[in-house]
């Protein structure tokens, strides 16, 4: 079996009846939190610009665009809603994924559910399956892929979306393996665009592309099922020889489910998670000692080195940069 087939086998085997009892509770948290941040993100300039452009395509369909008064095709809904969901950087995170687990998969799932209908059980089963798939792949490729400069929310999330859509549309193992292999060629997102409108666009594109991969595979499209492990395949291209471990992905699949342990991180602040521990520390100090700007001579913030490359921005000049800036966040309360 190729890696894509091994992955597809595990995706197909995911079964609601086998999930631990607390799974539903965490799924509800992830779903509601994502709906909230997407609605808030729908009014942002980036979402509005994108919606105006795609509206000109006059796509029609039953899929809701959050925060707008029209419905459209699944591809457009997942593009716009995916972008809106991540624009504020307020959506959930997961330590395993080194990224955001829900937005790359849930907005595509909402669009599919609008188009095909879905029971709550089917919806949650698909969500948990996608969440698990992207986290498991992360175990084998991170932190290397993250440090190298890829945006794991989408370079892994696109496979989570294939799992979600494949599950909801009840694709066969072979069709899911093919969809994963198509999606490997769609996986993209470069971290240097963090701090700009293009970061959330990554998530919208991931949603649109993942759905397309699944639909293509369902209708007989072909792809090389050795796309992951081939010497010019996903692992070597995205990580490089020796910088990934396939066994960590496939071994002990689903034990535990990552949505349960370590679980999701739900953000209290609408900005990059790398800045949150410093914000917690500074807010605690400010409240405890009733600090005023005039009484402060100097503030030193210490965070993990890995978190500083994209958040140490002393010359921050736009709110988008501010969302990824430790420097600014220490001051906001």
């Amino acid at each position: 079996m190729t890696f894509a087939q091994e992955l597809a086998k595990r995706i197909c085997a995911m079964n609601y009846e086998h999930f631990p009892s607390e799974t539903n509770q965490w799924a509800e948290v992830g779903i509601l939190d994502t709906v909230g941040v997407t609605i808030l993100g729908s009014r942002d300039d980036s979402t509005r610009i994108l919606e105006k452009i795609t509206a000109a395509d006059r796509a029609t369909g039953p899929c809701l665009i959050f925060g707008f008064d029209r419905r459209t095709a699944a591809s457009e809904a997942s593009l716009i809603n995916g972008t809106a969901s991540h624009v504020l950087d307020f959506d959930d995170c997961c330590n395993t994924m080194s990224g955001h687990p829900s937005v790359p998969i849930l907005l595509g799932l909402f669009a599919l559910a609008d188009e095909y209908g879905a029971s709550g059980k089917d919806f949650i089963t698909a969500y948990i399956t996608g969440f698990e798939a992207e986290c498991r792949i992360s175990l084998g490729v991170n932190m290397h892929q993250y440090i190298k400069g890829w945006h794991p929310t989408v370079t892994l999330g696109v496979f989570g979306l294939v799992a979600v859509a494949g599950k909801l549309l009840r694709l066969t193992e072979e069709q899911i393996a093919t969809a994963l292999s198509i999606a490997a060629s769609m996986s993209s997102g470069i971290k240097t665009n963090m701090g700009s409108m293009t970061k959330p666009l990554h998530v919208g594109l991931c949603g649109r592309n993942g759905l397309l991969a699944v639909r293509l595979a369902r209708d007989g499209f072909t792809a090389n099922l050795k796309i992951f492990e081939h010497n010019q395949g996903y692992f070597n291209v995205f990580n490089g020889e020796g910088n990934y471990d396939i066994s960590k992905i496939l071994h002990d699949w689903g034990r535990p489910l990552h949505i349960v342990d370590p679980g999701m991180g739900i953000k209290q602040y609408p900005c990059c998670a790398s800045t949150h521990p410093a914000a917690d520390a500074m807010i605690a100090l400010a409240q405890e000692y009733d600090l005023k700007p005039g009484n402060v001579t100097r503030i030193d913030s210490y965070t993990h080195w890995r978190r500083l490359k994209h958040t140490n921005r002393p010359e921050v000049s736009t709110s988008f940069q501010g969302k990824s800036a430790s420097n600014m966040l220490l001051l906001v309360r």
């Binding site: 370590p262 602040y269 410093a278």
Partner: protein
Amino acid sequence: MTASHFEGDALLDSNVQTLMRRVHVDPYTTEQFPADNHYAAEARVILTDGTVLTKKVDQPAGRTSANALTSEQLKEKFDHCVGELCT
């Protein structure tokens, strides 16, 4: 901290601009936190009278199931998100 803190001219606020010049950011050492903890932070504030205040956080609130936000905090966030749209 809410979305409004990042919008419009919030960044140009004179207090924000003045304080930003007083902020210094550095990676922490293994004397501050264990090497395998990549989600901690320490803030150190020096006041005009020379007082030094410090606060360490091992993990941001809400980061894992073991350190989850309360139902009230989740609801407060949701209401904030949806409420902003209706204003």
